[in-house]
Structure formats: structure tokens, C-alpha cells
């Protein structure tokens, strides 16, 4: 405190014999002075102090000082964003502990996984948590995206944040995929082999156009990914590098941007009805102890509001912290439970001579793999790119602001979504049944050109049909929002069905089987 310092200076000048006493006093007061230097303000007792506690804290000031009461309700967001962030943090922590023992070499990787599993203290737990958190994070970010879409939280001014979110989704998938290779077991090896083959699939298109010899974008991409023509030590190092440094850094930065944009865009989306001025006031403001001009709160209106709280907001400290804390610990508890009771799989050592049959990608890519089985380029690159771009464009195409903030908006959004879901179910299952029983164009016309198949295959057909459906909805309901809702619901349901189908009903040689028990034992 400045006063004390000035006093102290006077004392010094007075007596040199008391310096020892002063020194001893300082040492005795060390715990208190240290605590006070770290925790400046103590437990907040007023709204202003609560704001100050958030505002002046390095870690907490990403949160707003006051938060809208609607945002803390579970039905507003289902907490999915927080859960995703917590999972990311958990993944980072467990990932770093794994890095102590994991060896990114084709010779050492598998054995180091075994050592982590059996010998390293808490190794089994860390590894399992890492694995299950990764799966959970992919699921959660997808659900988070769905929540944002269904609540219309992408609309102006939040379009850019939506795009950043899509990028974060891609990054999450990339992180999961790069991590998948690291155990270097049969599962990993062949999944990445397939992934690299998909990366090479633009060759299908360049071949059709005839430019492969001087612009082999497919081959270049694959070589960039693998560092060689095959999955080996180079690929392992690259994937390791991506997984532990590059992608986490980029993700962290973009998460920061994502939160920054939430703050600048006015907080989490809420229905218009929630913003109405209430007649109550929250708590009475307190007199400031001194003249400072820190920005404490903003109120609507043209003049500074004094003695009046922000409408419908509550102090972040401690309410939001309780909410976030509870969600975090719940997530952690769930992951601990999973990690303790269920071991992450580890198949046999990677053996390039013995292909897995069927070699399946991780579950979140299985829907894609099903489409890849129809056309490598379309299923692996074409359709995902179209979907990603399409999703990014949604906020710019649908500018309607009615019903933003609530689920499914107003005016029949819910029924549109359900109907779209049903429609997708029928179309997808029908298309799959047709393909399984009758094959596709090449069965009838063996000499058909590949580019025709690339353009006309069950994946593209499905995408076109769903797009047409959403166009029909848009046109008949006269609402881009409903059309967007329809499209998103279709894509979500389609994704789920395709993923399920490829998980359960595809066996060796990607043939159709009713159940895995029917697969021929090898």
C-alpha cells in the first residue's frame, strides 16, 4: 500500500538499530504479505467486487464480469461448449503425460504403448482417459455445432465465429486422426493407409481430365502427409508432429479467438424475449472506494447508468464459476470412470504384410468411408469439402433473425427438422438397400468411364437429394431459416445412419453382412 511505503521510509530515516526488528517482522508477515500480493481483493461481497474479481484476474477475465441469466440455464446450451473445452484441456494434460514415455519411432512406438499400459504409474489410466476423451470431444463438438445451428446462434453478428467453429471442428477431427496412428498397431496402420489413399484420391479427377502427369495433386498430398510412398517412420513422425505441436497450437489460438468473438458479439445467444427489460433491479450498487475508471458494467441507454444493474444479468462470480466448475468436474468424473473401467483397444503390432480386412477408419470417419467405397474422391474429399463449405456459408445465406436464440426458432422449425430427419432416414436406407442388392452403374455397365461414377454415385445422389429437399422446404415455407434447419437435420441424420451402417453392416472386403458374427473367420 502506498501509505505504508511512505511511512516506512520515514522510519528508516529515524533509526538504524531497528532494522533487525523490521526484518524479523517482514519475515513473520511473509505468509500474509504473500497471500495479499497474490489475492488482491479477497472474497467479493458485492456485485461490484464480484465483477472486479473476474475482471482483474488473468485466467478469469476471458469471462464477462456479468453474465445473462439465460445463458447459465442448461437448456440454453447443454453446456456442450464447456464440456468440449474441458475435454480439450484433459486431452492436453493426459497427452503431455503420455509424451513422457511414448516413443514416435516405428520400432519403439508399440512397445512404449505396452509399457505405458502395464508398467508406467497411472499409465493405463492416462492413456484410457486420453482415448475416451478424444472420442467424447469429437462427439461433443458435433453436438455443440448442432446446438448452435438449431438455436440459430450463427446469425449476424456471429457469422465469423461460426466459421471459426467449423474450422475448430475440422481441427478436432484432424487431431483425432493424427493421434490414431501413434500406437502403431494394425488398427492404426491400416486406418492411416486408407486415409492416405483418400488423400490421393484427387488422382481420380486429374486422371479423368488427363492432367495427372504434370499436376498430380493427389500424389503430392499423399506424399506430403506420409513423407514417403508408404506409411512408415516418416509418416509417424509427421503425424506426431502434427498431433502434439502444430494442431494443438492452432487449436488453442483458434479457441482463444472463438471465446473472444463470443465476448465481442455480445455473449451467448439468447431469445429476444429474454432481453426484455425487467421491472426488478438486482442489487443496489455500492459506492466506489476511490476514484477509478475501470469499466465495470455496461447498460443499455445513452447515458451512464448509475445505481442500476444490467438487465437480466447476474454476476459471473460465483454463479458461472459454479456452473463451469460443476460441468468440468462432471466431465472429469465421467472420463475417470470410463478410463478406469474400460481399456482403450490396442491390436497387434503394425504389419504391412498382413492387411486388416476390413480396414476401418475411426468411427467418426466411417460414414465418409462408406461414401469413399462408392467414389474415393467424392467420398473422401469432394463431399466433405462441399459440406464444410456449405456449412460455412449458411450464416451468409440465411439472414433471417426471427426466432434466434431458442431451439428450432419459431414457426414450425421443430416439425421441419423432424420431417427432414424422417425423410433422410427413408432416402438413405433406401439408397443403401438398393446399392447392396443391385450394385451401382458399374455392375450394369462394366466399361463405364470412371468420371461418370465420380459424378453419379450414391454419395452424390444422396447429397443432391437432400439439397433438393432443403431447397423445396425453403421454397415452400418461404424461409431460408427453415430450409437451413432442414438441410442441417438431413445431414446430421444422414451422418448418423451412414456411420452406423458402416460400423455394423460392413465386413471383409466391404461386403454387406447383417451382423459381425457372420463375418468369415480368417
Amino acid at each position: 500500500m502506498p501509505e505504508q511505503t511512505i511511512e516506512m521510509a520515514h522510519d528508516e530515516r529515524e533509526s538504524s538499530a531497528g532494522v533487525t526488528r523490521r526484518f524479523a517482522e517482514n519475515v513473520w508477515n511473509l505468509p500474509r504479505t504473500f497471500r495479499e500480493s497474490a489475492i488482491r481483493h479477497g472474497r467479493p461481497t458485492s456485485d461490484r467486487a464480484a465483477s472486479q474479481a473476474i475482471f482483474t484476474n488473468f485466467f478469469l477475465h476471458i469471462l464477462p464480469a456479468r453474465i445473462h441469466r439465460y445463458s447459465l440455464q442448461l437448456k440454453a446450451t447443454l453446456g456442450l461448449g464447456v464440456i468440449s473445452l474441458v475435454l480439450f484441456g484433459l486431452l492436453t494434460f493426459t497427452g503431455v503425460t503420455l509424451m513422457i514415455y511414448y516413443k514416435p519411432s516405428t520400432i519403439g512406438a508399440y512397445d512404449s504403448m505396452k509399457d505405458i499400459q502395464y508398467v508406467v504409474p497411472t499409465g493405463r489410466l492416462m492413456r484410457n482417459i486420453h482415448r475416451w476423451s478424444a472420442h467424447a470431444m469429437v462427439a461433443c463438438v458435433v453436438l455443440h455445432m448442432a446446438r448452435v445451428f438449431f438455436t440459430g446462434a450463427y446469425s449476424k453478428p456471429r457469422e465469423l465465429n461460426w466459421v471459426v467453429g467449423i474450422v475448430l471442428l475440422v481441427l478436432t477431427l484432424a487431431l483425432s486422426f493424427t493421434g490414431y496412428l501413434l500406437p502403431w498397431d494394425q488398427l492404426a496402420f491400416w486406418a492411416v493407409t486408407i486415409g492416405s489413399a483418400i488423400a490421393e484420391s484427387p488422382k481420380e479427377v486429374t486422371d479423368a481430365v488427363g492432367i495427372t502427369s504434370w499436376f498430380d495433386i493427389g500424389g503430392m498430398t499423399k506424399h506430403l502427409l506420409l513423407g514417403a510412398n508408404h506409411v512408415g517412420q516418416e509418416a509417424l513422425i509427421r503425424f506426431y508432429l502434427l498431433h502434439v505441436i502444430v494442431l494443438p497450437l492452432v487449436t488453442t489460438v483458434l479457441i482463444g479467438l472463438h471465446f473472444w468473438r463470443i465476448r465481442k458479439d455480445g455473449g451467448l445467444t439468447r431469445p429476444r424475449s429474454e432481453d426484455a427489460l425487467p421491472d426488478d433491479t438486482a442489487t443496489a450498487p455500492e459506492a466506489a472506494p476511490s476514484k477509478t475508471y475501470g469499466l465495470m458494467a455496461v447498460v443499455p441507454g445513452k447515458t451512464p447508468a448509475v445505481d442500476r444493474a444490467l438487465a437480466n444479468t447476474i454476476p459471473t462470480w460465483p454463479n458461472a464459476l459454479y456452473a463451469i466448475g460443476a460441468l468440468s468436474m462432471l466431465t472429469l468424473a465421467a472420463m475417470l470412470l470410463l478410463g478406469y473401467f474400460f481399456d482403450a483397444p490396442l491390436a497387434e503390432l503394425a504389419n504391412p504384410a498382413v492387411p486388416e480386412n476390413p480396414a476401418k477408419a475411426p468411427w467418426y470417419f466411417l460414414g465418409l468411408q462408406e461414401m469413399v467405397s462408392y467414389s474415393a474422391f467424392m467420398g473422401g474429399i469432394g463431399i466433405p469439402t462441399l459440406i464444410v463449405i456449405g456449412l460455412c456459408l449458411v450464416p451468409y445465406v440465411d439472414r433471417e433473425r426471427a426466432g434466434i436464440g431458442g431451439w428450432f426458432g419459431t414457426g414450425g422449425g421443430k416439425s421441419v427438422c423432424l420431417l427432414s430427419g424422417l425423410f433422410t432416414l427413408i432416402v438413405t436406407v433406401g439408397l443403401l438397400a438398393f446399392t447392396v442388392n443391385y450394385g451401382w452403374l458399374r455392375n450394369a455397365y462394366p466399361d463405364i468411364q470412371q468420371w461418370i461414377i465420380t459424378l453419379v454415385n450414391p454419395g452424390t445422389v444422396l447429397l443432391v437429394v437432400l439439397t433438393l429437399w432443403s431447397a423445396a422446404v425453403t421454397w415452400t415455407t418461404n424461409s431460408t431459416r427453415l430450409g437451413a434447419l432442414a438441410l442441417f437435420s438431413c445431414l446430421l441424420v444422414g451422418f448418423v445412419i451412414l456411420t452406423y451402417f458402416a460400423t455394423v453392416h460392413r465386413g471383409p472386403n466391404w461386403d454387406f453382412y447383417w451382423w459381425p458374427s457372420q463375418w468369415p473367420t480368417h
Partner: protein, 900 residues
């Protein structure tokens, strides 16, 4: 926010935090207190403490910590010792698993800190929990080996369990260049009895006939060199009902191949479950040497004797040809013990011929067998063992010897003689066996004419006996080793029955006594002499091929018995035939003519029997006489002295007289002192020599080869001009018989050859070659001696190795084709390469089989198989004549010419 909402959140926070905390505590306790391996270490410490208490010592306590054997050279980390604590502690012998001591003394050779555990026992060394540590989860390719299955892992370092050729791995060769040794076939790691049993099963059941191992073996099945390295992913378990492991697959496969791999070529070997398991364990023990060289013990010195022929046969041939050699045709359902066993529809190329067949081995020469084994039969299941199969030439020779060993030995020859046989039985035998080739009338066809008087006159009983029993290699004459001694005697007696009844010596003597010489009789005698004797004995009896008859010493001493016996019975195995077609008058006239040369002077000698030291006589004979008369008195420049009829009629007095004084005018000089001979012997010494000669009377027959008589080069010229046209330039035969045949040359004496050439064979195309006999060519004695020397030279320097070239020239190929289609195509196929009988239109077969082989097989068939005899007398389908058989053979040779 409402108060209750905040409370709810606080509650949730506290509860989930406590849950997290508890879970962490749980995980920590589980890992640091409750791990099974920690419990085992506590139990172990308790056990040791108890033992120490009983002994009165203080136990050594160790802290509870994870233990491992870190083995970077093997690429393994084995943590088995965290639970298996007592493996090298004898005090732990009474503990239960996993704390107990390792059985046996294996750890003294394989210390765990150098070897670890998993290199022998498999399992997952890095794991610390069950069942992962024992490798029993589905993602570990090496499950724990228990019981005697542990021995299957020895093959990772040891060579003893391998079948053979371990050194090839050491020296990096693909195929071992050395022969398989006996030691390799019987070796196994000490204690590995199931491995030893499995190895024996591989040898006995002939797995290598289809499955190659280290580059040797058949080609029908997959290679088994490192079959133990395969994992469960390499096998199809669709039809396996037992455990889904490599051992389970193999055991099921060996018990019943067809049920595990439908449509397989692998036959059911009738193995029991235990045998199948042993064999499966053995297969699993065949592993690549995966440890560094420092871990591999040097292969011990094993028995380096090459594997014997029977083991080779079992290993490589028995799976197709049968452990008993009887082949696969006989194993169809018609012969199976189990009548419920259906005849498996085997692919055509797997119907294997019978090897242990008397008729096959009688006709197939060693050359034939060797050729077929070396080159295989293309397009059939018989591999080329010399190249693809990987057998060395010595091993193939041993195999041939083994096969030959299946042939009956043949009867004891000492008791065989014509006089002991019954010609009526002989006729029955002849009608059943010989008629197809030698003709009903004995005048020949495929075989030579036996009924020729000059042949029977010159061929001794021994010659006939040897020809019958040994046959003629690579010709159509089989070796009839299955005949009994008396049967052979019967046959010879029957053949002799074709000879005219010789004039009885007594009758001749009586005739000589009663009727003295008249000019007519002398004339008859001279005519007879000029016609029959002059070629060998000279126009005036001065001797040429045969000894001189004109010397006074000879004629004055040789009595009528001597002369009559010599003429009528001849000298067997020399060039002096038995002139048994002469009538009594003729024989008498001939003797009178001879006597006229020394004007009937006759000297009587005192009777004398030589009974002194024959051994001394032998030495003297060797020194003085053998140069001309041969070391064993078998003849040479001088006549054969060890000749039964000679010694029967020449008395000791005659012998002594001739030795002492020689025969003037011949190279036989007098040996008595003072006779100005080459050597000077005392009378006592001459007595010894006579004793020695008398001693030769009982000795068995030797074939006379007269070295030094005749010039080979001249004989070659003469032969080429006079004989090669019929007998082939290399003596391989053609119209005439094969003269360079080793059995023939072994049993035909020089005298036989000389006499045959001189006199020819009546009734055949072999015309007399001697001068004055109105033959094609007139050879003098010198020429004949040269030719004989040339023929004899073939015995020492065979003109060709292996299979002789072709000799049959069939007259009518169209007839041959018609006959083939009529009689053979039903089983052998229209082109000789279809049907279920062995492929005839097969390049290797036609190369290896001589025409004689083909003739004999067609004529005789193969008893015990489906090949009937097609010649006369065999009771076969249709009695074909020799000409017809020749036509068929010629037609078959046409296939060979076409493919060339």
C-alpha cells in the same frame, strides 16, 4: 440467479469433485496395493519366511517392486519374473504356481537374465496382468506354450529339431549341398520326445513327397520350411471345430485333411489324434532362427553317415508310392480294409505306379529307375528329383539300391543243373513264362531263338542258368529272380530236351572196337572234320582257335574215351561245342580219322594218381603255367585246364606226360628237367602241379576271358564291317541281340563267343562266320579272336552309360496304331496321355524305357496291378505275337519322334 439454482450447482460441483477424488484414490490403490503381482510377491515373501523359519535361518526380504529381464538383443522385455518369483530358487520347489521353481535344469543352460522367458514360453512379456501376460487375448500372436509344447519354441535357436540342412541357414544357402545325414533325421533337442515322435512321423508318412523343405521335396503342397512362424491369420478356420489356434488347425488337418480343407489333394493318412498332435507340434517347431548368432549353439557333431535308402524312400516317395511300395492304384476301395471307405476320386496325376512289383523290378533296370527318379515324369505328379526335388546323385543311387532290394534274391545257383530238372515241369514253366517272347516252338520272336542246335551246343547249363536268373539289363529279358532252384533246373532240362540225344559214349566205343577204319569211314571222317572241326582246329589239325590235335604226344596218349567225350560232350564254357547231333557211326568215323594222323600209334601209361601237395602245385602253376593257361587254369593262349569234361577224361598219367614232355609243334613245351623247356621242374614238382589240376575238378565254373589274345582295334574294324549291321554299332542290338549287355558278357565265355561267331545259330539270321562254312563273311581264327577281344573289351569299358538307344524296328506302324487303340487306349488314352493308367506318351518315360522294357511289359504285364499280360502264355486279354508287340512299341516310339 435463484438461490436454489446456485445451491444445485454447488451440490453438483461438490459431488462430482468427490467422485473424481474417489476414483483417483481407487485407481491409485488398485495400482499400488491391489495389483496381482504385488500380492504374489507378498505371498512369496511369506512362503520364504516360513521356509526360513523351518530351517532356522533368516529370510532375505526384498522390497516389493516390478521385476523384469531387459533383453535389447532379443528385442524383448520379460516381466514374467514379477509374478514367477521362484523360478531359480530351489527353496521354492514346494510352492504353488506362479511362485514355484522352474522344472528340470533348463535354466542352467538358459539363464533368465540372458534369455528371458518369452523366447521359449511365448506369451506377452511386457504385460503385467493376466490374461494379457500369457498372450491369451486375441491380439497377441504368440500364446503361452504349456507342457511339452514348449519344445516347439526350441527351433528359434536350435538346429536339432529341424529335419535337415540346418547348416544351410548358417551359411546362407537356399538348398543344402550336402546329403541328408542319418544324424539329422534322428536328432532332437534333449527331452523333446513329442518333437522326436513328430519328426519320425514326417519321415514315415512321406510328407516331403509333396511338401518341400529347404528346397528338397515335391511341389504339390506348400513349403514347410518355416511353417512354425505362421500365425492364426494365415489359416482358414471355417471348418475347424476345435480350438482356433495354429495347433488346433494343424491337429484337425492331420486327422482329416479333407474336412478342414475341402477339395485338398492331401490324402488321409489315418493318423490318430495323439499322432496328429505330435505332428502338429513338430510342424510348429519348424521356425526361422530368429535369435542373434550369439544365442545359437553350434550344431553338435551328429552321425554324419548319409541317410540310408529306406529312410530316403519313406521321406520322399512313400506318400505317393506307399510305405510298402505298392503304389496308389492298389489302394483304391477294392483293396481297402474298410469296405465303407469310398474310393476317393483322385486326380489322374496322383495315381502312382507300383514299385514293389516283381514284374516291374524284373524288367526295370537300375538305369531306368535312376532316370525316372532324376527327371521325373513331366505333366504327372512325379517330380524331377535331381533338379527340382533337390536330391543328390548319391542319394538317388541309394534309393535305386533300396528299390532293387525289393526284388527277390533269386535261388541258390549251386544246385541248378539240367540233369536235376524235370523237362515236363520245365515245359509248363516255359509255356507260361517264356512263350510270349521266345515263341511256342522256341524259335524266338522278341527273344532270341533258343532252339538253335548250335546255341544249345555251345551254351552251358551255367550260361542258361545265369541268363534266366539275372536277365539282360535294359533288354526285354527280365530277371526271373522269383523262380526256385528246381524250377530253373526244370526249365534248363526242358531246353536241353530240344537237343538231339547225343550218341552214348559206350556205343561209340563199341563201334570203334568192332569196326576198324576203312577208306570209306576215313573219308566220312575227313568230310566231317573239314565241315565241323577245321575252323577251330586247323585244316590239318594243327590248331588255331582250338588246340592242336595232330601232335603225337596228344594222339598217342588220348584214348577213345577221351576223344569221344570231348567230341560228344564238348568242353562247356569254351569254344568246343557239344557235337551231339552226330550219329554213333559219324562219331566213330571222326575219331578214326583223327587216329589216322599218327597211324594209330598208342602208348600205354602206367596208372598213376597225383596226391601230393596241391598248394605247392598252385604256386608252381602260377609261376610256370598261368601265363598261357590262366591263373585259375581257365585258359588263355593255352586251353582251359579247369574244365569238367577235360579233367574227367584226362588221367593223371596223361597230364604228367604232357606236362613233362609237352606237345611238339605247339607252344606247349616240356617242363621236365632236361627237356629244354622254359622252366625245369623236378618230377616231384610236376606231381604237385598235377595234384593242383586235379584239385580244380570240383571247383565252380568261371567264365573264361582270355586276355592278350586278339587285338581290340582290329576287332573293332571287323565288328563294324560284319556285325554292326544287326547287332548295332555299340552292341546295343537291333535285329540281333544286344552284345554289349553286361549280364551277357559276364556269363558268356570267350569260347562261347568264338564258337557262336564261328558256327552261327542254325535257324536264325546269325550265319556262321567261320571260313568255309558258306556264311556271309569268312573270318579266320585271327579275325574271330580279334572280334572276341573287342566284345570282351566292352565288359571293361562299356560303350555307353545308362539307357541304350533304340533297337526295335517294327514292320507296320499302322498295325501298331490299330493294335494300340484296340488294346491300350482304353486305359492309357488315345494319345497315351489320358486315362487312369500311367501316362505312356511322356517324354521322360519314353526316354528312360528301352524297347526291351516296353516289349517285356506288354508281353508279361505287371501282376498285382491292372496291367495284364498281352503276350502269349500270360493268360492275358489277347495273345499278341512278337511282331504285333514290336509294332505297338514302334508306334509308341513315334510319339517320341514327334515330340522331338
Amino acid at each position: 440467479m435463484e438461490e436454489h439454482q446456485v445451491r444445485r450447482l454447488q451440490c453438483l460441483l461438490i459431488v462430482s469433485s468427490i467422485a473424481c477424488f474417489l476414483l483417483l484414490i481407487l485407481a491409485a490403490v488398485d495400482e499400488n496395493v491391489l495389483s496381482p503381482w504385488r500380492q504374489h510377491q507378498r505371498d512369496y515373501a511369506d512362503g520364504l519366511a516360513e521356509v526360513a523359519r523351518a530351517e532356522g535361518t533368516t529370510p532375505i526380504t526384498e522390497p516389493i517392486r516390478l521385476k523384469q529381464n531387459y533383453l535389447p538383443t532379443l528385442g524383448r522385455v520379460d516381466r514374467c519374473v514379477s509374478c514367477h518369483l521362484g523360478i531359480d530358487n530351489p527353496k521354492a520347489a514346494q510352492f504353488d504356481q506362479p511362485l514355484t521353481t522352474h522344472p528340470g535344469d533348463l535354466l542352467s543352460h538358459h539363464p533368465p537374465d540372458k534369455f528371458g522367458c518369452s523366447i521359449c514360453h511365448q506369451g506377452q512379456g511386457r504385460a503385467t496382468v493376466l490374461p494379457d501376460a500369457h498372450g491369451l487375448s486375441s491380439h497377441w500372436p504368440e500364446p503361452l506354450l504349456a507342457g511339452d509344447l514348449v519344445y516347439t519354441a526350441c527351433g528359434r535357436c536350435h538346429y536339432e529339431n529341424d529335419l535337415y540342412g540346418g547348416s544351410a541357414d548358417l551359411y546362407g544357402n537356399a538348398r543344402p549341398v550336402e546329403q541328408v545325414t542319418q544324424g539329422e533325421l534322428t536328432s532332437h533337442v534333449p527331452g523333446a520326445e513329442n518333437i522326436a515322435r513328430g519328426k519320425r512321423l514326417v519321415i514315415e508318412h512321406g510328407c516331403l513327397g509333396c511338401h518341400p523343405y529347404r528346397g528338397r521335396g515335391g511341389t504339390l503342397g506348400p513349403e514347410i520350411t518355416h511353417v512354425g512362424d505362421k500365425t492364426v491369420h494365415d489359416f482358414d478356420f471355417t471348418h475347424v471345430h476345435g480350438e482356433h489356434s495354429v495347433l488346433g488347425w494343424m491337429t484337425a488337418h492331420f486327422e482329416s485333411p479333407e474336412s478342414v480343407v475341402p477339395g485338398t489333394l492331401m490324402p488321409d493318412m489315418g493318423l490318430s489324434t495323439e499322432d496328429s498332435r505330435d505332428l502338429a507340434a513338430y510342424m510348429i517347431s519348424l521356425k526361422r532362427k530368429s535369435a542373434p548368432a550369439s544365442y545359437t549353439p553350434v550344431p553338435q557333431a551328429l552321425d554324419r553317415a548319409p541317410a540310408n535308402g529306406l529312410d530316403l524312400y519313406l521321406m520322399y516317395c512313400s506318400s505317393c508310392h506307399g510305405a510298402d511300395g505298392v503304389g496308389a492304384i492298389a489302394r483304391s476301395s477294392q483293396g481297402a480294409e474298410d469296405p465303407d471307405l469310398e474310393a476317393i476320386d483322385r486326380p489322374r496325376e496322383l495315381l502312382t505306379p507300383s514299385l514293389r512289383n516283381g514284374d516291374t523290378l524284373a524288367v526295370a533296370s537300375d538305369d531306368y529307375l535312376r532316370y525316372i527318379i532324376q527327371h521325373g515324369r513331366s505333366r504327372t505328379g512325379m517330380p524331377a528329383w535331381a533338379d527340382n526335388g533337390g536330391l543328390s546323385p548319391e542319394e538317388i543311387d541309394r534309393l535305386v539300391v533300396t528299390l532293387r532290394g525289393w526284388q527277390a534274391d533269386g535261388p541258390a545257383v549251386d544246385s541248378i543243373a539240367a540233369r536235376r530238372g524235370n523237362p515236363r515241369f520245365g515245359r509248363a514253366l516255359y509255356r507260361s513264362r517264356c512263350v510270349g517272347c521266345h515263341g511256342v516252338d522256341g524259335r524266338g520272336g522278341i527273344g532270341v531263338s533258343l532252339r538253335s542246335p548250335s546255341f544249345l551246343a555251345v551254351a552251358s547249363d551255367e550260361f542258361l542258368r545265369d541268363a534266366i536268373i539275372q536277365g539282360r539289363t535294359n533288354s526285354a529279358m527280365p530277371s526271373w529272380t522269383d523262380l526256385a532252384a528246381d524250377e530253373v533246373s526244370d526249365l534248363i532240362a526242358y531246353l536241353r530236351s530240344w537237343q538231339p540225344e547225343p550218341p552214348a559214349t559206350a556205343a561209340v566205343l563199341a563201334r570203334l572196337e568192332s569196326q576198324p577204319a576203312t577208306p570209306e569211314t576215313l573219308h566220312v571222317g575227313r568230310v566231317l572234320y573239314r565241315a565241323n572241326c577245321a575252323n577251330c582246329h586247323g585244316k590239318s589239325g594243327e590248331g588255331a582257335l582250338g588246340p592242336s590235335l595232330r601232335t603225337d604226344e596228344f594222339l598217342s596218349l588220348a584214348d577213345n574215351v577221351y576223344l569221344s567225350t570231348a567230341i560228344v560232350e564238348g568242353r562247356p564254357d569254351t569254344a568246343m561245342p557239344a557235337w551231339n547231333h552226330l550219329s554213333v557211326d559219324d562219331a566213330a568215323a571222326l575219331i578214326q580219322y583223327l587216329r589216322a594222323w599218327n597211324e594209330n600209334r598208342h602208348r600205354q601209361l602206367e596208372p598213376y594218381l597225383a596226391r601230393t601237395d596241391w598248394d605247392r602245385g598252385r604256386i608252381l602253376f602260377e609261376g610256370s603255367c598261368s601265363g598261357c593257361h590262366g591263373k585259375d587254369a581257365e585258359g588263355g593262349v593255352g586251353p582251359q585246364l579247369a574244365n569238367p569234361t577235360f579233367l574227367a577224361t584226362a588221367t593223371d598219367a596223361m597230364l604228367r606226360e604232357w606236362i613233362s614232355f609237352g606237345k611238339l609243334g605247339t607252344p606247349m613245351l616240356g617242363f621236365l628237367r632236361g627237356q629244354q623247356g622254359v622252366t625245369e621242374m623236378t618230377p616231384a614238382q610236376i606231381d604237385d602241379v598235377v595234384t593242383f589240376l586235379r584239385y580244380q575238378q570240383g571247383t565252380p565254373r568261371k567264365v573264361t576271358a582270355r586276355p592278350g589274345v586278339g587285338i581290340v582295334a582290329h576287332g573293332e574294324e571287323t565288328y563294324a564291317g560284319a556285325c554292326a549291321g544287326c547287332h548295332g554299332s555299340l552292341g546295343e542290338g537291333g535285329v540281333g541281340s544286344a552284345l554289349s549287355n553286361p549280364e551277357f558278357l559276364r556269363s558268356a565265355s570267350d569260347g562261347y563267343l568264338a564258337a557262336t561267331i564261328t558256327l552261327g545259330r542254325d535257324g536264325t539270321e546269325m550265319l556262321p562266320m567261320g571260313a568255309g562254312l558258306q556264311g556271309v563273311v569268312e573270318m579266320n581264327a585271327e579275325d574271330i579272336a580279334n572280334v572276341v577281344a573287342f566284345l570282351r573289351n566292352w565288359e571293361h569299358q562299356p560303350p555307353f552309360a545308362g539307357v541304350p538307344s533304340r533297337r526295335v524296328m517294327g514292320a507296320d506302324p499302322h498295325d501298331g496304331k490299330a493294335l494300340y487303340i484296340g488294346f491300350c487306349a482304353g486305359c492309357h488314352g488315345r494319345q497315351g496321355d489320358e486315362g487312369w493308367a500311367p501316362e505312356l506318351n511322356n517324354p521322360e518315360f519314353l526316354e528312360a524305357a528301352t524297347d526291351g522294357f516296353l516289349q517285356a511289359t506288354i508281353a508279361r504285364g505287371r501282376s498285382g496291378t491292372a496291367m495284364r499280360s498281352f503276350g502269349k502264355g500270360g493268360g492275358g486279354v489277347a495273345p499278341l505275337t512278337g511282331e504285333q508287340i514290336d509294332n505297338i512299341v514302334n508306334y509308341m516310339r513315334g510319339w517320341q519322334r514327334m515330340s522331338e
